[in-house]
Structures are given as C-alpha cells and as structure tokens.
C-alpha cells in the first residue's frame, strides 16, 4: 500500500502542498484530479523522490520511501512534459533503462511495441507528441513497476490510442496487482477506470474516497413540480446545488434521495422525478465548488 502522510512542501514562501494524505492500495487505480496548478505534478514528484518534502512521510508497504530506499526502485514515473535524451531511440532507451530497472521485460516490451506499432529505431525526439507518450508508456509498462505514476498520460492522444492505453493499464493492474496513480484532467475517462479518487485544490486533498462510495454519497436528481421550487433544510439530506433548465430542476445532494422526494411531494405536486447517474466530472465540480472554485459569476 502506498501511503502519503501529512506531506508538506513550500517553494520559498508558497505553501504548495498542505498536509497531503493519500492511501492507494495495490491493484488500485488512483485518480488524482484537481484544479489547474493545485499541486498534482508536485505531489507525484514527491512520491517518486524528485522533490524532497519539508515534512511528512511517504510509505510503501509500511517502509519509508526515500531516495535511497529499495522500494523506490519499483516505482516508475511518466511525466507530463516528456523528455528523452538527445538522439535516443526507444530501443536505446530500453537498453539504458534495463541497467536501472531490475524488472525490465523484453518480452513485454516487444509485445507492447507491436501492440502500439512503434518504430523502436526512430529517434524519439522526431516522434509526434502522441507517439512519444506511447513510447514512454511502453517503457513504463516494460519496467514492471509496482507503483506507476502517470502524469497526464493520455493528454493529446486520440480516442483509439487512449482505449489501447486503458486496456493495457487495466490488464496490468489486474494481472500484477500494481498501484497506479494517475493525474489527469480527462475526468470522463478516469470515471471509467479509477477505483479511488483524490481531489486536490490549492495544495490540499479536499476529498479522497473510493469511486463507488463517492458516487453513492453524491446524488443527482431531475424533477418537475407544479410551482416554484425552494430549498429547505432537512436532516436527511443536504442540497449542494440546484439549477432550473426550462421547467425542469436539477439538484445535486448528499443523503437520502427518498427523503428528498417525500419532502417535494409534501410541498408540491411532483410531476416528474428521476435519479440521474453521477459522474466524476460532476463530483469534481461539486467538490471544488464547495471549496469556492469556479463559483464566480461572470457579471460580478
């Protein structure tokens, strides 16, 4: 289990990571989502030990992670802004990384190269952004890491390649029980693959929960009533957001949906009432909205 405990970091006077706590289980894909500049990449760089925290600890299987610890050798980080050494090809980079990663598998490398159709002798710096991401992903998977940190890995990829990515990743997680932390803004895609989500805002994790639990807690309903709807306070549920589109109201709430329905029925003549599926994007907007993010009105 990868555990980040009360991690803090300041860049000069800016407190960029504030008491970060993360718990990612083996065989779990952990989605790290958050507002722009909230510190996702910085957090990943701390986990991989590129940056050193001011305070707090990172543990993997109850062992403290430092630059020198044995466990860190099973971590692999694919950064958002990819870098490849000058004149390197996927083949030369594989040979180089083989000297560093003990679990590097040529068989898996060959299989993935074939699957993604990458020219292993082409200079990486001459490849397109998408090809580079595929190459980086192939190397990462070939290293057989126990902890895989992916920063915006599908950014700039077409839908077909993205599907391929997820297929490989999910298969890897299932077969090898690895821990994946993936930072992305592609919330709709994360919605389908993440087991757990950590939502970051302004350097802090404002919510960390299993995806199922998140969706269970947050409900979204649409209804139409005879009359004008007004929020009321009720112990059984909490209204987070309500908007009206035409004559239909959309309400996001936490708590008992049936109690909310009864409350409506008691007050109004209920014409339509449907419970809608809640997606990660909705959860994200709701949580960040709760933190005051994106709530500004254009006019104001």
């Amino acid at each position: 289990m990868l555990k980040v405990n009360l991690l803090n970091k300041s860049f000069r006077k800016f407190h960029v990571l504030k008491d970060i706590n993360i718990n990612a289980e083996p065989g779990q894909i952990y989605g790290l989502v958050g507002s722009n500049g909230c510190g996702k990449t910085t957090l990943l760089k701390h986990i991989i030990q590129v940056f050193r925290q001011d305070s707090g600890e990172i543990h993997y299987n109850n062992n403290l992670i430092t630059e020198k610890s044995e466990e860190i050798k099973d971590f692999y980080y694919v950064q958002d802004d990819l870098f490849f050494p000058q004149n390197s090809t996927l083949k030369s980079l594989y040979d180089f990384e083989k000297l560093l990663y003990t679990g590097m598998s040529l068989e898996k490398f060959d299989k993935l190269v074939k699957y993604f159709k990458i020219d292993i002798n082409k200079k990486l710096n001459n490849m397109s952004k998408g090809q580079k991401r595929q190459a980086a992903f192939v190397l990462a998977m070939s290293a057989n890491p126990k902890v895989l940190l992916l920063d915006e890995i599908v950014d700039g990829l077409d839908a077909v390649i993205r599907r391929k990515f997820w297929n490989v990743l999910i298969k890897e997680v299932i077969e090898n029980n690895i821990t994946v932390i993936i930072s992305s803004h592609a919330l709709k895609e994360l919605d389908n693959i993440c087991d757990k989500v950590g939502i970051m805002h302004e350097g802090a994790i404002i919510k960390e929960e299993e995806m199922e639990s998140l969706k269970e807690n947050l409900k979204r309903v649409q209804f139409a009533i005879d009359g004008e709807y007004e929020d009321v306070i009720d112990e059984s549920y909490t209204i987070i957001k309500s908007i009206k589109v035409g004559s239909v109201y959309f309400v996001t709430l936490r708590g008992d949906v049936n109690a909310f329905r009864k409350s409506l029925e008691n007050r109004y003549k209920l014409l339509i009432f449907d419970e809608l599926a809640v997606n990660l994007e909705e959860i994200f907007i709701t949580e960040l909205g709760g933190a005051g993010y994106g709530m500004e009105e254009l006019d104001s």
Partner: protein, 599 residues
C-alpha cells in the same frame, strides 16, 4: 553504508553506456586534435613542437569543459531533471556515473596527446611538466563542474560557476592581498608584499593547490597525496551539496541560497580590487571609500541578476550590512593589532645583521652547493642574503645601532625631500627576522634629521669598504688583469673619444680621483639616506644627485657626462667584473681626470 550506496551496482555498464553516447564527441575531439596537433605542423613544414601539444591540451580543456556542461545540464531543466532523478538511481550515483564517464573521456584524449608528445623532440621545455599540472586540473575541473552543476539551476550559470569555483582559491588570494594593502595603509612600516608573501609561503600554499610546485620544485609522491586530498574535499562537497539540493529550483540561476550569498560577496569584493589599479593613489580613506562604493554597486547588480529583480530582499540587505560590519571590524582590529608593532625596534646586541635598501629582489644561493636563484627579500634567509652580490648586510654593532637610530627617526615621521621607499630587515641571532617597509613622502618642510643620522654612518670606513669596495678597498683589484675600457661622451656637442685616451686610462688614478670625489660627497651630501638605501650595484651607474648635485652643478643647462665602462676578467674579479659610471662635473676630480685624457 551511505558511501556504499553512492555507487550504483551497474556503474560500469552505465559508464559504458555514457561513453557510447559520446561517440560523436570522441570523433570530433580526435579530429580536432589530429588536425591541430599533427596535420597543421605537417602542412606548414614544421615538425610537431611543444607549442602544438600545448594547443592540443587547451583544446582538451575546452572539450572536457563542454562535455561536463552538457552532462551536468540534466540538473538545470525541469524535464531532464524529472526524467533522470525519477529513475532508480540516486542523485549521487548519477553524478558519480557522469564524473567517471567524463574522466574516461578525458583520459582517452590526454592519452592521445601524451602519445603524440612522445614523438617530438623537446628543445627547451619538459613536455612532461605540462601533463603534471594539467592532468590534475582536468580531474579537479570535472569535480568542480559537478559541484557547480549541483549549485546552479541553469547551464550558462553552471558554466560560469565552474570557472568561478575553479579559480576561487585565486580569488581569495586577490581579496587577501587587497586586505593586506589596507593593512599597509593603516600600519606604518607594514608592507602588503611582505604580509602576502609570508601568508602565501607559510599558510596558503596556492602553488601546491594548483600543482605548480611540482613543476618548479620537482615531482615527488606528495603530488598524489595532494591530488587525493583535493579530490576528497571536492567529493565531500558534492556529497553534502547534493543531499541539500532543492531540485524544484531548477531553472533559477543559482539554486543554493548559501552559494548565492557567498558568490555575491566574493564577486562584489573582486570588482573594487579589479578597479584598484585605477584608484591606486587615492590613499587610505580613498581606498576604503572606493571599496565600499564599488562593492555596494557590484553587490546590488549581482543580486539583481541572481534574483531577477531590482528589488533586494531583506536577507540580501542584511548580508550586505553584515559584510560591512565585518569590513569595519577588520580595519579596526588591524589598526589595533598593528599599533603595538609599529614602534617595535630591536636591541642592537640581539641582531646578527641588518639590511637597509630599496632592492627587494635578491639574486643569490642558499648554500655553496645550491644554484643561484632570485627571491623576494621576504623569502630570503640571512645565509641567502649573505651570499648575494647586490646586498650589503651590516654586521658591525655600531652600524646596526646607527641603522636602529635612523629607523627610530623614520617611525616618528615619514617625510623626506622626495618620495622613496625601502626595506629594513633585521636578522636576529636566534633566527627571527623583522621586516619593516617604509614609504617616505615628499615634504617641503623636511628637516634633514634622517640624513644627519645616516651621514655619520656613511663616513665610517666599514661602510665605505662595504658600500664601495671598488673605490675604497685597495686590495680589491689585486690579481686582476688589465681591464677593457670604453668611454663615451654625452653633452652639448658630439665628441669622439680618441683611442689614445683609452690607452692612457689608468684604473688606479681613476680610483684615486673617485675616492676624492666620494670623500667630499659623503661629507657634503645631505641626501645620505638616499645613498644608503641604494643597491651597491647602483653605485656603478650612479652619480651624486638630489640636493647635493643641484648645489654644486648649477647652473646646468645641458649636462655633460662621460660614460666609463670597465670590464675585468671575471675569474679574478668574481662577480663584480663590470662597472659603468656616468661621470659628470658633480664628480669634479674624476671629471677633470677624464678630460685630461682627451689632450
């Protein structure tokens, strides 16, 4: 355990991988060396000479420098850094691999150059000396590049920092020398050169640090000890600094705040020193004011560049204030510490010999067996001084006391007819040496007191014999062969010297006339101190001058003089085999004698 962890288990293979990536650099380097060291000499028809090997070595330095900058640049870019550091290799292991790779690269280039040098015939220079100095420079240079890479967050600043760090011991030397100049200004009798020489020869062995000593004094096993010690220190710095490096600051000019402060103080100190040659005659207060102003300006600009802001932060201002306090304290403490020594005068009975003179470069030998060499007086022993042919050591107790009396007068005030400077060196019986250096300044109201003290000394036979043996030592010419004489005239008109005059020239009569002139001069001269401090060899080029000359030679419009050159057989006259005198009418007896030869 920590040290064990600093070496990656695949270091060898990683180095080979790094060298493979340098294939193009190897090719380019070989090509450059091949063309400049071998092909060009062949094309120009000259054989390969030492100069070509030196050029080749300069090229090796350049190539290694560029390679180090490229290889350590991974610390200066967020992308490169994240890629490299995220791999299962620690920062230190990565640096070690880079250092070793560059060491191998350097070794190959040096080996190529060394093999090439074996095919040349050296004419004036031992080519091995070139390698003795430059090989440790290259190795320490690679380590310095690693340190600079860790300290900086930008490849250009990394390159500059490498040069600055490599020359840091020299920068310290320049700053220390400047501070000694301040002490010289504060303390009467203190000389920056003496302090500097003492410091450099006894405490701050820069010649050892840069391995120059092993060329000057010969190669021995301590060379390897020094090299190992320097590398251990540099590696220790790499180790400590790497552990403290804040990678998130990659991209900034300097990532270490401590280094930023340190370098801004060092460079800001060097700026006024660089300008000191322009402001050399500004005096003590002028020197301090220029230092403070130029330091402040340079400090501000350096920090503005480093911080990329014209507004200095509070810490930078505090550091400036701290340095100014240190500087003020240095002046106060230096003044206080030197005050007690300024008036120090020896007791004549404790002194074995004393030297007073303006000549500070002594050419002599330590023992009869050693070779003749030149040294600063501050590095010379009494024995060395005694064997010098251009130095008079006064050993007579009365003479020593007379010099102490003059010294006492000099301590009271430092005025004279004109500006002049000289050294007094007391050689104690117990081996201690006391040096004092004085700059006498021209003062119109100088009372002649110093010359009055010296005049008595000058008229003792001991002084005359030592100072002018050619004139006063009647046995001086014993055993000498007939000298070769040449005489030239300088004056209002052109006069050729008849051969008959040369034939009639008699050294003994010439000496007798000189003796008369000097007897008169030594009594009448009121610039005795000036005569005392001149090198005895200067006598052979000298004439009475100063106030004395003005008094007896006025009115003079165009000075007439005979140049008399006397060359003796070297064997019979030892080192003093050549004399050249400019005889003017200020030497009336001698002048008249030469005139008489023209008839």
């Amino acid at each position: 355990m920590e040290w064990k962890n600093s070496i990656h288990k695949n270091t060898g293979r990683l180095v080979i991988n790094g060298l493979k990536e340098k294939r193009s650099w190897f090719l380019v380097s070989f090509l450059i060396l091949f063309i400049t060291v071998i092909i060009i000499p062949i094309i120009t028809g000259s054989r390969i000479q030492e100069g070509h090997i030196v050029v080749g070595m300069v090229e090796v330095f350049f190539l290694v420098f560029i390679n180090c900058m490229i290889d350590f640049s991974y610390m200066h870019d967020g992308r490169k850094l994240a890629y490299n550091i995220s791999k299962p290799i620690t920062d230190l292991q990565k640096i070690n691999v880079t250092i070793i790779t560059n060491m191998v690269f350097t070794a190959v280039l040096v080996a190529v150059l060394f093999i090439t040098s074996m095919f040349i015939k050296t004419s004036y220079m031992d080519i091995g000396e070139l390698f003795i100095v430059t090989v440790p420079w290259l190795i320490t240079g690679i380590f310095t590049a690693a340190i600079s890479g860790v300290l900086t967050g930008n490849s250009i600043s990394g390159s500059l920092a490498t040069i600055i760090n490599f020359t840091l011991p020299l920068s310290f030397l320049a700053i220390i020398n400047y501070f000694f100049r301040i002490v010289e200004d504060i303390a009467i009798g203190f000389n920056a050169d003496i302090l500097f020489n003492t410091f450099v020869e006894n405490y701050y062995r820069i010649d050892i640090l840069y391995f120059v000593k092993y060329v000057e004094d010969g190669f021995d096993f301590t060379y390897f000890i020094v090299l190992a010690a320097v590398l251990v220190i540099l590696y220790g710095l790499i180790y400590v600094l790497t552990k403290r490096r804040k990678h998130e600051r990659a991209g900034e000019l300097v990532v270490s705040d401590g280094y930023k402060s340190f370098i801004s103080i060092i460079i800001a100190s060097l700026v006024p020193i660089a300008f000191s040659s322009i402001f050399y005659n500004v005096g003590f207060s002028g020197r301090i004011i220029t230092f403070v102003i130029l330091f402040a300006l340079a400090y501000y600009l350096i920090n503005a560049v480093l911080e990329k802001s014209f507004r200095l932060n509070r810490y930078t201002i505090k550091l400036f204030a701290g340095f100014m306090v240190f500087f003020a304290l240095f002046i106060i403490i230096a003044d206080f510490a030197t005050n007690q020594f300024e008036g120090r005068l020896p007791v004549a009975s404790e002194i074995s010999s004393v030297y007073i003179g303006s000549n500070t470069w002594i050419y002599s030998q330590e023992t009869d067996e050693s070779e003749f060499e030149g040294r600063q007086i501050y590095s010379a022993t009494e024995e060395f001084m005694k064997k010098a042919d251009n130095v008079i050591l006064y050993e007579d107790q009365e003479t020593i006391q007379a010099i102490i009396d003059v010294h006492r007068e000099i301590i009271k005030n430092q005025d004279y007819y004109y500006n002049m400077s000289f050294v007094i060196a007391y050689y104690y019986n117990d081996g201690e040496i006391l040096y004092r250096y004085y700059n006498l300044l021209e003062k119109s109201d100088y009372d002649g007191q110093k010359d009055a003290f010296v005049k008595e000394l000058m008229n003792t036979s001991d002084f005359k014999l030592k100072r002018m043996p050619f004139v006063y030592d009647d046995n001086y010419l014993t055993g000498s062969e007939k000298p070769s004489i040449t005489i030239h005239y300088e004056g209002k008109d052109v006069r050729s010297i008849p051969q008959s005059a040369i034939g009639k020239f008699n050294v003994e009569i010439f000496r007798a006339n000189l003796k008369k002139d000097f007897d008169k001069y030594l009594i009448e001269s009121d610039t005795s101190l000036n005569f005392l401090i001149q090198s005895p060899n200067d006598f052979y080029f000298m004439e009475p001058y100063g106030r004395y000359k003005t008094e007896i030679a006025e009115p003079y419009i165009v000075e007439e003089a005979y140049y008399v050159e006397i060359s003796f057989n070297e064997e019979s006259m030892k080192s003093k085999n050549y004399f050249s005198l400019r005889v003017t009418e200020a030497f009336p007896e001698t002048y008249a004698y030469i005139e008489s030869l023209m008839d």
